[in-house]
C-alpha cells in the first residue's frame, strides 16, 4: 500500500511539472507522504484553481471530498486551506494545502467543483478566510449577527452571542436558479421549517412556488450548530468520544468507531481482533437502526405510520443490546482509543444473533408494507433521480451514491478491520431516485445482518483493548489494587493521551456515507484541530437543485430519503 502511495506522489510530480502556468513556480511545490501514509501536496495559493482543474479534468480525482481551514496564529501566513481529493476509480486520496494570510484571499474552487460552495462558506464562517470569486460568500452555520470567527484560536469556546431574529425567506444567487418556465409568473414564497414535522426539527427549506411547482429553492443550515469542532479542540482525546456520539445520533456508535480509528491511525496502533469484531458488530447494528429511522421517518412523512411503529419495535431491541453492553441506549460511547471500554457480558453475542433473527423478520414485514405499495411507489419512484456522474460531482457517498449505480463502499474499497474477510455484497440501484434509495437501504440492512452473524458466530478470543500504558487507562482493579496501576492511571489522566505531532485523514463507511476525520495533532493532550467530513453535508448541498422544477410534495420525499441528520450536518 505504501509503495503504491509513493508511486502516486511521483506520478503527480511528473504530471504537475508539465502543467503550463505553474512551471516557473514549481520549485515552491512540496510533495510528501506523511508518516501514516497520506499523500500531501503543498503549493502557493495562486495555483489552486489550475491545479484542481487539472486533477478534475484529467480524471485523476473526481471527488472533492472535503475542504476546511486550519488556524496557526503564530505563522506568518496564518491560515491553511486544506483540500481532500478522492478518486472513485483508483480509491486514491490526496491532501492539498495552501497557506493564506490574514486579509488575503484564495481563489474559489467553485469554478471547478460546484460542491466547493458550502465548504468554502463554512471555512469563511469559521475562520474568516476569503475565497475570491465565490458567488455567495456568506455565513453558513452560525447566525448572521455573530461577530468574529469562532474556530480561530483566539476565539473563546464559551463566548456566546445572542441572535435576535430568524432570517426572512431568502435565496442564494448560485444554488437558487429560477425555473425558466416560471419567469414573469406570480410566485408564492413558502417557508418550511425549521420547526416542521418533515424537516425533522432543524432543517429550513425556503421555496418559491409557481402553482404546485418549485420555481426556486434554498436551504438554511446551522440550526443545530453545536460547535463540535471547537469542543474537540478543548477536550482531551478520549473526552471527545461522547461528542462524536452526537454527530449522527441515529447511529451513534459508528461515529465513535470512525473517530477512534483516526486517532489510532495517527498513533500507529492496531487494535486487537476482539475489539475489531465488537466494533464491526456495533457499527453494523448502528447502520441497521440508522436505516430504520430513515425509512420509518420517510414513510411517516409520506403518510404511512405503520412502518415507523414496526421499525421502532426492532430499534428498541437493538437498544436493549446496547444497554446490556454499557447501560446507555442511544449515545453509547463504548469505544476508547485503543479498543473498547469494556468486554461484552457473557452471552451477549448470542443475544445479538437472536436479535438479528427478529430484525430479519421486521425488515421483511416492512418490505411487505412498502415495496409493492402503490402510494409509496408513486411518491418515490422517479422522484429525486440523479445520475452517477452528478452524484459523484456533488460528493455523494453511501446509500445515495449506490442508489445512483456506483458500487462504492469503503468497506470493500479500502477495507478496514476484518471487513475483507467477511462475505457481503454492495447493493446498487439504477436511477438514484427515492425508491432506489429505499431499496438500497433495505438490502444494506440485510447485508449488515449477514456481516453481524458471521462475526458473532466466530468471535475472536483475546483482549478487548490494547494495553499500552500511555494510551489506555489501567483496569479499575489495578488502579485500586496496586501501586503501578495507580501510577499509570495518574500519569495518563494528568498528562493525557498524546499522539505524535502530525496529521491524518481517515474515513469509515458510516450509515450515510463517508464519515471522515481530519485530525491535526501538535503533540499535546488535545486535538489541535479536528475536522469532520460529514456525509450528508455534501448530499444536502444538491438539494435545491434536486427539488427545483419538481412538485412541492416531492420535497418531502426527497428530504426524507436523504436522511439528513442535523447533528452531523451542522455539527
Amino acid at each position: 500500500m505504501n509503495n503504491q502511495m509513493t508511486h502516486q506522489i511521483e506520478l503527480l510530480k511528473t504530471d504537475l511539472s508539465q502543467l503550463l502556468p505553474i512551471k516557473d513556480r514549481f520549485s515552491a511545490y512540496k510533495f510528501s507522504t506523511s508518516k501514516v501514509g497520506d499523500d500531501v501536496l503543498e503549493f502557493p495559493k495562486e495555483d489552486i484553481v489550475p491545479v484542481l482543474r487539472y486533477f478534475r479534468e484529467s480524471g485523476r480525482f473526481d471527488v472533492l471530498m472535503d475542504l476546511c481551514g486550519v488556524d496557526y496564529p503564530e505563522r506568518a501566513k496564518r491560515f491553511e486551506v486544506v483540500y481532500h481529493l478522492f478518486s472513485t476509480k483508483t480509491m486514491q486520496r490526496l491532501r492539498i494545502k495552501c497557506q493564506v494570510g490574514e486579509g488575503e484571499s484564495i481563489d474559489t474552487a467553485t469554478s471547478v467543483w460546484d460542491s466547493a460552495n458550502w465548504f468554502e462558506r463554512e471555512a469563511f464562517d469559521m475562520f474568516g478566510i476569503k475565497f475570491a470569486g465565490h458567488p455567495n460568500l456568506r455565513r453558513l452555520l452560525v447566525h448572521e449577527e455573530f461577530v468574529g470567527h469562532p474556530l480561530r484560536k483566539d476565539y473563546d469556546a464559551d463566548h456566546q452571542q445572542h441572535c435576535s431574529v430568524a432570517l426572512p425567506v431568502h435565496f442564494d444567487p448560485t444554488h437558487s436558479h429560477l425555473l425558466p418556465s416560471a419567469k414573469g409568473h406570480n410566485l408564492v414564497p413558502l417557508n418550511i421549517g425549521p420547526s416542521h414535522p418533515s424537516t425533522h426539527g432543524t432543517l429550513r427549506v425556503m421555496a418559491e412556488l409557481d402553482g404546485e411547482t418549485i420555481a426556486r429553492a434554498n436551504v438554511e443550515l446551522g440550526f443545530l450548530h453545536r460547535c463540535f469542532e471547537k469542543m474537540a479542540e478543548t477536550h482531551p482525546y478520549n473526552q471527545v468520544i461522547p461528542y462524536t456520539d452526537r454527530l449522527n445520533y441515529c447511529s451513534a456508535p459508528m461515529n465513535n468507531v470512525g473517530y477512534c480509528k483516526a486517532v489510532e491511525r495517527l498513533l500507529g496502533v492496531e487494535i486487537p481482533q476482539k475489539a475489531q469484531a465488537m466494533r464491526i458488530i456495533l457499527a453494523e447494528l448502528s447502520r441497521i437502526i440508522d436505516h430504520f429511522v430513515c425509512l420509518g421517518a420517510n414513510a411517516v412523512d409520506l403518510g404511512a405510520l405503520t412502518a415507523f411503529f414496526q421499525l421502532f419495535t426492532y430499534r428498541e431491541q437493538v437498544y436493549n443490546l446496547f444497554e446490556k453492553l454499557c447501560g446507555a441506549r442511544l449515545t453509547v460511547s463504548l469505544t476508547r482509543i485503543g479498543g473498547m471500554a469494556q468486554d461484552a457480558p457473557p452471552g451477549w453475542f448470542d443475544d445479538v444473533l437472536a436479535t438479528c433473527k427478529n430484525i430479519r423478520q421486521g425488515i421483511s414485514d416492512v418490505e411487505g408494507l412498502l415495496s409493492q405499495n402503490k402510494i409509496w411507489i408513486q411518491r418515490t419512484q422517479g422522484v429525486g433521480a440523479i445520475s452517477a456522474e452528478k452524484a459523484i460531482a456533488w460528493g455523494y457517498t453511501g446509500p445515495l451514491l449506490r442508489a445512483a449505480g456506483v458500487a462504492h463502499d469503503l468497506r470493500k474499497a479500502q477495507p478496514y478491520y476484518m471487513y475483507d474477510q467477511l462475505d457481503f455484497d454492495i447493493p446498487v440501484g439504477t436511477s438514484g431516485d427515492c425508491y432506489d434509495r429505499y431499496l438500497v437501504r433495505v438490502e444494506e440492512m440485510k447485508q449488515s445482518l449477514k456481516i453481524i452473524e458471521q462475526v458473532c458466530k466466530n468471535v475472536p478470543s483475546g483482549d478487548y483493548t490494547i494495553r499500552d500504558k500511555g494510551i489506555v487507562l489501567p483496569e479499575k482493579k489495578d488502579v485500586y489494587g496496586n501501586i503501578e496501576g495507580l501510577m499509570n492511571h495518574f500519569m495518563l489522566v494528568i498528562k493525557g493521551l498524546r499522539p505524535p505531532a502530525g496529521e491524518v485523514y481517515d474515513a469509515t463507511e458510516a450509515a450515510n456515507g463517508e464519515l471522515g476525520f481530519y485530525l491535526v495533532s501538535d503533540g499535546s493532550g488535545r486535538p489541535y484541530r479536528l475536522r469532520v467530513r460529514p456525509p450528508c453535508f455534501a448530499i444536502y448541498q444538491s438539494f435545491p437543485e434536486q427539488v427545483t422544477g419538481g412538485l412541492l410534495s416531492d420535497v418531502i420525499s426527497i428530504l426524507g430519503s436523504m436522511n439528513l441528520i442535523a447533528g452531523e450536518l451542522d455539527r
Binding site: 448572521e144 455573530f146 445572542h162 441572535c163 426572512p168 432543524t202 453545536r226 421502532f312 437498544y319
Partner: protein, 203 residues
C-alpha cells in the same frame, strides 16, 4: 392518592325507575339523576380534563428527539397518558416538549413557537442540552431554554431515558391537577434582545 383531585362520584340508586309506559315522577327523576351525577369544583374537573389530554408539540432538534420518538413509539407509548395527539402546529398544542440542543440561531424560532401556542400552555425541557446547554459550553449553544421561555418541568439526562420523560409528563399532570402556581409562566416576557419574527433584515 392524596393529591388526586379526580371528581368523586356520589351515586345512589335507591328508587326504581318508572315502569314502561308510565311517566316518572319528579322525585324519581331527581333520584335517578343522582346515579350518574357527581359533585366537584369546576376548576378541578377542568384540570382533570386538561391533564389527561395534553397535546404535545414535539420540538425535537437533536439526539433527544430520537429518544422522544421512542417515548411516542410502541414500547413506551405516550398515548397511555392521554398525550398521543402529536401536533406540529403550535396553535393546536398545549405541551411543548423541547427535546434537544437549542442553538442561538434557533432561539428566536423557539420563542416564536412558544408565543404561538394558546393558553394554557406548558413546557417540558427534555435533556441536559435544553435544560442548561448540556456539555456544550459553546459559542453557538443557548445555555438552557429557560433563558428564553418559561419551563415547567426539567427532565435530566443525556438523553433522558424514556421512563424519565414519562415521569416528567406525570409531574406536569400532577402540577396541573394540584393547580400548582406557575409564576414563571405568568410573568414571562420575551427576552429583551429578541425581535418579532419577520423583522429581520433581508439578505
Amino acid at each position: 392518592m392524596p393529591h388526586d383531585n379526580s371528581p368523586s362520584v356520589t351515586g345512589h340508586n335507591s328508587m326504581p325507575l318508572a315502569q314502561p309506559g308510565q311517566a316518572p315522577s319528579d322525585a324519581q327523576l331527581v333520584d335517578s339523576s343522582k346515579s350518574f351525577a357527581f359533585t366537584t369544583r369546576l376548576d378541578d374537573v377542568i384540570a382533570w380534563g386538561r391533564k389527561n389530554s395534553m397535546w404535545p408539540m414535539p420540538y425535537g432538534t437533536a439526539c433527544c428527539g430520537i429518544e422522544l420518538m421512542s417515548v411516542m413509539g410502541p414500547k413506551y407509548d405516550l398515548a397511555r397518558f392521554g398525550a398521543e395527539v402529536v401536533r406540529f402546529s403550535p396553535r393546536q398544542a398545549d405541551m411543548l416538549i423541547v427535546a434537544g440542543t437549542i442553538t442561538e440561531k434557533m432561539a428566536p424560532v423557539l420563542v416564536h413557537i412558544y408565543e404561538q401556542m394558546l393558553d394554557p400552555k406548558y413546557v417540558i425541557s427534555m435533556g441536559a442540552c435544553a435544560s442548561s446547554g448540556g456539555f456544550y459550553r459553546a459559542y453557538h449553544v443557548l445555555q438552557g431554554i429557560d433563558k428564553v421561555i418559561p419551563v415547567d418541568v426539567f427532565v435530566p439526562g443525556c438523553p433522558p431515558t424514556p421512563e424519565a420523560v414519562l415521569d416528567g409528563v406525570m409531574t406536569l399532570q400532577r402540577m396541573i391537577a394540584e393547580h400548582h402556581p406557575r409564576p414563571w409562566a405568568k410573568n414571562w416576557k420575551r427576552p429583551a434582545w429578541m425581535k418579532q419574527l419577520g423583522t429581520g433584515a433581508p439578505v
